[in-house]
């Protein structure tokens, strides 16, 4: 598998092999294309800019000029949202929920991916079929039974375990790990087995160090799932001190905002706090969000 990313230069098919006489319109076309792409990208980013600026304004100014304020920026909205919802507590809940989901996804995903890729045992084909099948089960159908089982049956409402449980396994991660382990030569593992190493030891000291990029990809992809998830934690948390930030902000947005002096300011401040970790991680590690990594995860 090639690990080409958007950053890898690929030869321009039409322009590169065109005769010299056609190079000028090609350059013009390229400039037009770049301009259109940049304009589109700015339109894509505008809501994020507006979110940040809005979170710093004391009074909401919805005029076009208000989008580019020259002064009067304040952190009051952040103070306001922090008194309405305990930001630190909500962030902690989000962190525990996300951390638990990542831990489960990586541990179970590595074990299952390694077994499916490098070990031959009875039922492997059937299990891989099961993995494929699980990918097509939609969450809508599971919504009611999972709520009934986890909240009513196991009594896990308002608990981290109940929040994490449906996210502790991620079939996409199993696919990504399987894909990476498949690329490692079987001789490598055979040699380690001859030396008498146990499978767990081989996995830990031979296989895992070789798939470090996959590990990072899975951690990043898994992070955005639970961190941004709203529906499930919303269903199972009623106590405000157990709610992740996405849930407490949504509740503020739909219930409390009407009473605040500058509701949009406080909402946008909360939105910035919620968005910042995921966006920062993505920008820092954007090289690892490669088309092939994610493509292989989805396509198997």
């Amino acid at each position: 598998m090639s690990t080409s990313t958007l950053g890898t230069p690929t030869p321009t098919p039409g322009v590169a092999c065109a005769p010299a006489a056609r190079r000028r319109p090609g350059t013009l076309r390229r400039m037009l294309r770049t301009t259109a792409l940049v304009a589109f990208a700015l339109a894509f980013l505008f809501p994020f800019y507006y979110m940040f600026i809005g979170s710093l304004q004391a009074e909401p100014d919805t005029s076009p000029a208000g989008a580019f304020p020259t002064g009067g920026l304040t952190l009051d909205n952040y103070r306001e949202i922090n008194t309405e919802i305990n930001l630190l507590r909500s962030l902690l809940n989000s962190g525990i929920f996300t951390g638990g989901a990542i831990l489960g996804t990586v541990v179970f995903g590595v074990l299952a991916g390694y077994a499916l890729a490098q070990l031959s045992f009875r039922g492997r084909g059937a299990l891989f079929g099961l993995v494929l099948l699980v990918q097509v089960v939609p969450f809508q159908l599971l919504l009611i039974p999972l709520y009934v089982l986890i909240v009513r049956g196991y009594g896990l409402a308002d608990s981290y375990l109940g929040m994490i449980l449906p996210f502790a396994i991620n079939t996409t991660a199993v696919f990504v790990f399987r894909q990476f382990f498949l690329q490692l030569p079987a001789d490598l593992f055979a040699a380690a087995r001859v030396d008498g190493a146990s499978e767990l030891r081989i996995l830990w000291s031979v296989a895992l160090p070789l798939v470090r990029p996959a590990l990072l990809t899975v951690v990043l992809l898994t992070f955005i799932g639970p961190w941004n998830e709203f529906l499930w934690p919303f269903l199972i948390t009623k106590q405000t001190d157990m709610q992740p930030l996405a849930v407490s902000l949504a509740n503020y947005l739909s219930n409390v905002a009407a009473r605040a002096a500058n509701p949009y300011g406080a909402i946008l401040a909360g939105a910035c706090v919620l968005a910042a970790p995921a966006v920062a991680l993505f920008i820092a590690f954007q090289k690892h969000f490669t088309s092939t990594n994610i493509g292989s995860g989805v396509k198997g």
Binding site: S4, L6, G7, T10, P13, G14, V15, C17, A18, R33, T34, L37, F44, P47, F48, Y50, T62, S63, G66, F108, G109, L111, A112, A115, L119, S120, F121, R122, L127, L130, P138, Q140, L141, L142, L143, I144, Y147, V148, L149, I169, V174, A191, R193, E199, N228, F230, L253, S254, L268, A271, L274, A275, A278, V279, F282, I283, Q286, S291, I294, V298
Partner: protein
């Protein structure tokens, strides 16, 4: 050679009956067991349970209480189909899909093709298109509420052209706006899928098309679009599944599926009927119907898109 030798020492059917029974590496079963157990606990069992609930008179009872939940056949389904609110929600999601899916596929392919060329500032463009995808819906819903409120920036810019009633409280505009919102939010992911597919298109096809004097548009039509057809099928099916799961946007953006239920989605209805109003049996029946609908639409799409 060495591989064969090592395998040979492990494969002694006479000496190791366990190998014949469980395969060469029975430890694989142990490694995959936690995953398999989870699949049963969190997917397989609830899946069967959902169908079971939908055929029974199911209601929430106090923990530990022994209650009778009689089999009612298709009663729940009859109630669901006879409910105008449910029919409206399914109609809404159809409107959503008709706008969202073509918009997503066309924009994602166009942008992926443009990004696939060597251009300056690609990292910036990559981040710009991908950032909405990595951001929480709840956060970006906040800013869209602000932008599209009746006194918001969009209406201020439009001036006299602003719709009345405003976007999110307008029965005809609420659902299309949500469809555009979701397309914007998810586009980065689908661009990545198309970019992966574009890497597999043979360069020779473009070269021979250029030699034949094909214009850029002709090359796009007759080389790129057919070559990425499997990716298009995937994009359409994934966008359909994402759309059918719609919940957060109507719940927050239009205050619970308003106005007058014009933006209610089936999943939102499952929450309202099943958990708020305490009728999980009806909600389970909506879920089963929704999944049947999604599978049907996906299969029709697949047939249409994979037709030679």
């Amino acid at each position: 050679m060495s591989v064969r030798l090592t395998r040979g020492t492990h494969q002694h059917p006479g000496r190791r009956p366990v190998t014949a029974l469980l395969g060469r590496h029975p430890v694989g079963l142990a490694l995959i067991a936690p995953y398999a157990a989870f699949i049963v606990l969190v997917f397989a069992y609830p899946l069967g349970f959902a169908v079971w609930i939908s055929f029974h008179d199911y209601f929430f009872a106090a923990p530990g209480a022994q209650v009778d939940r009689p089999f009612v056949g298709l009663e729940n389904y009859r109630a669901v189909i006879g409910d105008p609110g449910v029919r409206q929600a399914f109609g809404n999601i159809l409107v959503f899909l008709l706008i969202n899916v073509p918009l997503t596929a066309v924009l994602a392919l166009t942008l992926a093709v443009a990004l696939n060329r060597s251009i300056r500032g690609r990292t910036f463009l990559r981040v710009a298109y991908y950032v909405p995808y990595v951001t929480a819906s709840v956060a970006v819903v906040g800013v869209w509420l602000f932008l599209f409120s009746s006194d918001g920036l969009v209406n201020r810019v439009l001036g006299p052209l602003a719709p009345d009633p405003s976007w999110l409280v307008n029965e005809t505009l609420a659902m299309p706006l949500i469809a555009v919102f979701v397309a914007w939010k998810q586009l980065g992911f689908f661009i990545l899928l198309y970019l992966a597919a574009l890497q597999t298109v043979p360069k020779e096809l473009y070269e021979s098309a250029a030699v034949d004097g094909a214009t850029a548009w002709q090359r796009f039509r007759s080389v790129t679009v057919p070559a990425v057809r499997p990716a298009t099928t995937l994009v359409v099916i994934l966008a359909t599944i994402t759309g059918a799961n719609l919940f957060t946007e109507p719940y927050l953006l239009t205050g619970g599926g308003g106005p007058n239920g014009a933006s209610t989605s089936p999943v939102l209805l499952m929450y309202q009927r099943g958990i708020e109003q305490g009728a999980p049996d009806v909600a389970a029946a909506i879920g089963v119907l929704l999944v049947v609908g999604v599978v049907t639409v996906s299969m029709i799409n697949r047939r249409l898109l994979e037709r030679p």
